[in-house]
Symmetry: C2
Subunit: 248 residues, 2 copies
Amino acid sequence: MSIDCESEAVTNPLLRKLEHGAHLSPADRALVEALTSEVTEVPGDYDLVREGQTPPLVHVVLAGFACRYKSLPDGGRQIMAWLVPGDFCDLHVAVLGEMDHSIATLTASRISTLPRNGLEEITTRHPGLTRAFWWATLVDEAVLREWLVNMGRRPGDQRVAHLLCEVLARLKAVGLAEDGEIDFPLTQIDLADTVGLSAVHVNRIIQQLREEELIVWRSGRLRVLDVPRLQDMAGFDAGYLHLRPQGR
Amino acid sequence: MSIDCESEAVTNPLLRKLEHGAHLSPADRALVEALTSEVTEVPGDYDLVREGQTPPLVHVVLAGFACRYKSLPDGGRQIMAWLVPGDFCDLHVAVLGEMDHSIATLTASRISTLPRNGLEEITTRHPGLTRAFWWATLVDEAVLREWLVNMGRRPGDQRVAHLLCEVLARLKAVGLAEDGEIDFPLTQIDLADTVGLSAVHVNRIIQQLREEELIVWRSGRLRVLDVPRLQDMAGFDAGYLHLRPQGR
DNA sequence: CGGGCTTTTGAGCCAAATCAAAAATAGTGG
DNA sequence: CCACTATTTTTGATTTGGCTCAAAAGCCCG
């Protein structure tokens, strides 16, 4: 349940992420810092928000992995998004009224909870930040579209490889990847629930990626040995993430 | 290429849709009407916007079917959204800068093109409408999430059935469905590109749905014979569409 | 050191793909 | 209105990627 303070960037990951989407004034930056000052440590596999609820707080992931998911009648679940440091969990609730899916941590995480009215003040008084939030929402949507392509048209191995390429790029964008290597304490079951394959099959795919010397993944750490080659076999093109050239 | 003026509601479909998401003032309504006055007729299978472009106009579907899609290296395509009357095509471009996917008509369509600055004026001066646009974007995202569940975890027959339930509900919401029946001039190939199955398999599923007397689909018209039963077999729950109880 | 997760392995099976070709439809131009 | 095409839809046969079931091996943690 310790969350690896070392590898966390000096800068706030939310701030770091938003800077990809808009130019923020010093005042905007200070505001973001202030907003994310209310922090909770949460264990892995913990429901932050459940389908049908209208959470009073907006959550932001600061460290760890969370996800959006829906449970199915047959007991399975489909994960529809990974929420990594810098990602909003439920920004949309104020507008949509009720959650149409649940949000849970996948690993022990540090979560920031912002009061809704603080956010509403921003959207009326700080157009620069508002635009940045808007941008973040639209990138989430773009990611969702790419996932749909992944599930619909790519075979298992490319599907998993594509997901790994994406998470690497996203963590790099908030300063949490060094040289193709990231903290990655998920289970293969989580991966399977995400890419729509069985855990057994995902296991075989992982083994294949290891044999091809594309990745090393052990004890919660993932190293991509040859990023271009993995991207190539996955058909990965980072354009849909709409990041600035350098996550630095 | 004629677009069936009869079945089109008296009311503007965009307006009709937005009323599900927010209460609009008479001024807001007038503004929406004015915005959608610039109209083009477009044939089927026509690219409105292509990946990589930054379209100068924002498009709204008024009649017909369009879609978001990405082409794949192997020649296939994945459709990531169906755009039906009332749907924005590229509202996000102003923020994201560049299209990360293409938009094309699936059938002959009536498309409204709004100048970007008209929209920007709205987002600064008309909070009610802005909120309605925001709502529409978030619903698009919710639909995307449900599609992901559909592709990831539902077998072919349920997958197709679910999609049909959705399109029926969405068209009903803008007044374009009467009693489980809609204009539906798509090909089975379009369907296959949407649900991530082969056209041959989709064909077999359609035949099965017909045999089970769940649907009648011929000459561009779809009738769902038993809506509750189809929804039931598909595991369809309209909650994610965030519509008001009555599309009326 | 024992119990509960994960990961791994093996075997058999099934949903859905592919390939190929025929039948049905929808357009198009004369 | 009718040939002539092109596109869709349908059928059949075959192959395969990924699933299920089941059990073993490895890990983590108290």
